[in-house]
C-alpha cells in the first residue's frame, strides 16, 4: 500500500474507463441500454447515475471478497452481489424518493443485466484492490454516462423537439413545415448515432482494430 489515492496509476484507471477503453465506444458493451433509454435525456441521466453507482459499488464488494470466491461459481456470486445491490437501491428509492423511483420504473431492474457491470467485475475487480476497483467502476460509469447523455440530447431534440421535457424547437419552425424525426425515437436512430459517435471517438483516440 502506501500509494497516493490519486497516483498516476490510479489516474490512468480513471482515464482508461472514461476515454481510452470507454465501455461503449471501445468495449462495445451496454449497447442495449444505450438504445433503450436514450429517447429522452432525463431517462438517460437517471440510468447513467444508477449504473455508475452500481458498477462502482459492486466493484468494491467483489474486490473485497475476490480472494475468497470459488472460481467455479464466481459469475453467479458476482450476479448475486449485483442483484442484491440493485434491489436494495430500488427499495430505498421506493421508500424515500418515490417520484424518482416512478420515473426509473423498469430501468433499475435493467441495470442488473447491463454487461458493463459484469464486465468490470470480471475484468477488473476480480484482480485488483477495492480502491482501484472503485475508481475503475466510477470511470467506466462516467464513460458510459457521457455517451448515453450525448445520445439522449440528440435524440430528444431531433425526435421530440424537446430537451428534458421543455420545448426547444420554436413553434415558428414547425409552422414552416419542420417535422420531428420519427426515426430518432426508434432504436435505429440510436444505432446510427452510436455508430457516428464510435467513429469520432476512435478517430480522436487513435484506436485501431487489431
Amino acid at each position: 500500500m502506501g500509494e497516493a489515492l490519486l497516483s498516476s496509476k490510479n489516474q490512468k484507471i480513471l482515464k482508461d474507463g472514461f476515454w481510452d477503453t470507454n465501455p461503449i465506444t471501445f468495449q462495445i458493451l451496454g449497447i442495449c441500454s444505450a438504445l433503450a433509454v436514450t429517447t429522452q435525456l432525463k431517462a438517460a441521466i437517471v440510468m447513467s447515475l444508477g449504473l455508475t453507482f452500481v458498477t462502482a459499488g459492486s466493484n468494491v464488494v467483489i474486490s473485497l471478497i475476490r480472494n475468497f470466491i470459488p472460481p467455479q461459481i464466481r459469475i453467479i456470486v458476482q450476479l448475486t452481489v449485483v442483484s442484491a445491490l440493485v434491489i436494495s437501491i430500488d427499495q430505498l428509492l421506493r421508500a424515500y424518493m418515490f417520484d424518482v423511483s416512478k420515473q426509473l420504473s423498469v430501468f433499475v431492474g435493467l441495470i442488473i443485466t447491463n454487461c458493463i457491470v459484469m464486465g468490470r467485475l470480471e475484468a477488473f475487480a476480480m484482480g485488483n484492490p477495492p480502491w482501484k476497483s472503485f475508481l475503475d467502476g466510477l470511470a467506466n460509469g462516467a464513460g458510459y454516462s457521457a455517451i448515453l447523455i450525448l445520445i439522449g440530447i440528440v435524440r430528444e431534440i431531433l425526435g421530440s423537439g424537446t430537451l428534458l421535457g421543455y420545448h426547444v424547437i420554436p413553434a415558428s419552425v414547425y409552422a414552416q413545415g419542420y417535422v420531428n424525426n420519427g426515426m430518432m425515437v426508434l432504436a435505429p436512430g440510436a444505432f446510427f448515432l452510436l455508430g457516428i459517435i464510435v467513429w469520432i471517438q476512435r478517430a480522436i483516440s487513435g484506436y485501431k482494430e487489431s
Binding site: 429522452q40 427499495q91 421508500a95 424515500y96 418515490f98 416512478k102 425515437v185
Partner: protein, 239 residues
C-alpha cells in the same frame, strides 16, 4: 485455503445466499410501511388528478396536504356488478377475492356531486397499465383520465402518462345519448380527426406514434371498465 474444493464452494455459496437473503428481506420489511404510505398517497393523488379539482393541487404538494384535500372532497364507495352501492364497505377492504365488487370515488364540492372516478386496469404492450377515469356528474362526459403506473417504453408507449395524451380524453363521451349505447373511448393509430368523422369523433382520441399496441391496450381497458361501471353510472345518468 483451497477455494476450489467442492466443500468450500458449497459453504461459500450458502453464505452468499444467506447474507443476500437476509439483507434483502431486512430492506424490504424495514421499508414496508414507508413504501405502502407512498403508494397509498400516490393513488389518492391520482384520483384527485383524474377528477380535476376546482382548485387543482400542485404536483409538488406534500403528503399531508394531499390527504387533507382528499378526505374533504372524495367519498369512497363500493359498488357491485349490478351497480348497487354496497353499504358499509370501503375500497380499502376489497381484496383479490372480491371479483364482483368495484371501488368508486365520488368527488363532491359543497355536497354537490362533481365527478365519478374509478380505476381502470389493463394490459399494454409490456406491462399492466393502471389508471383512473373520471366522468362528469352527467355520468357521460369524461372529466379526466390518468395513467400512473406502467412499464411501457419511455418516449413511446410511456407517453400515456403525459399530459398531452391524457388531455385528449377530456370532453369525450362514454355514452351516446342519440344511439343509446356505450361508446368507450378508442385510441386510434394516428390522428383521430383523419380517421373518423362526425359523431364518432366524440369517442376517438389520437394515438401515440410507434406505440400502437399500447394504444390498443388502452382501448381494451376503456371498453372493459366503462362497461363494468355503466351498471352504476346508468342509474345516475340523467337523460
Amino acid at each position: 485455503m483451497n477455494t476450489s474444493s467442492t466443500r468450500y464452494t458449497f459453504i461459500f455459496a450458502i453464505i452468499v445466499c444467506v447474507v443476500s437473503a437476509v439483507m434483502l428481506a431486512t430492506f424490504s420489511e424495514g421499508l414496508r410501511t414507508q413504501k405502502e404510505l407512498n403508494e397509498e398517497l400516490d393513488v389518492k393523488r391520482n384520483i384527485l388528478k383524474a377528477v380535476v379539482l376546482k382548485d387543482p393541487i400542485a404536483p409538488k404538494m406534500k403528503g399531508p396536504e394531499v390527504l387533507k384535500v382528499y378526505e374533504s372532497k372524495i367519498e369512497e364507495l363500493v359498488v357491485d356488478a349490478q351497480g348497487n352501492i354496497v353499504d358499509g364497505k370501503t375500497p380499502k377492504q376489497l381484496t383479490e377475492k372480491n371479483k364482483d365488487l368495484f371501488p368508486l370515488y365520488i368527488y363532491k364540492e359543497d355536497g354537490q356531486v362533481m365527478a365519478y372516478a374509478f380505476p381502470i386496469i389493463g394490459q399494454g404492450l409490456w406491462s399492466t397499465l393502471y389508471g383512473y377515469l373520471a366522468v362528469e356528474s352527467d355520468a357521460t362526459t369524461i372529466r379526466g383520465v390518468t395513467f400512473y403506473k406502467h412499464g411501457e417504453t419511455p418516449g413511446l408507449g410511456g407517453e400515456i402518462e403525459k399530459e398531452w395524451f391524457q388531455k385528449n380524453f377530456k370532453g369525450k363521451t362514454i355514452y351516446s345519448v342519440k344511439e343509446h349505447k356505450l361508446t368507450p373511448t378508442v385510441v386510434v393509430k394516428g390522428k383521430a380527426a383523419d380517421i373518423v368523422k362526425g359523431d364518432a369523433l366524440s369517442y376517438h382520441v389520437d394515438g401515440i406514434t410507434a406505440a400502437t399496441l399500447t394504444g390498443n391496450g388502452v382501448t381494451d381497458m376503456m371498453a372493459r371498465w366503462v362497461k363494468v361501471y355503466d351498471a352504476y353510472l346508468s342509474k345516475v345518468r340523467k337523460i
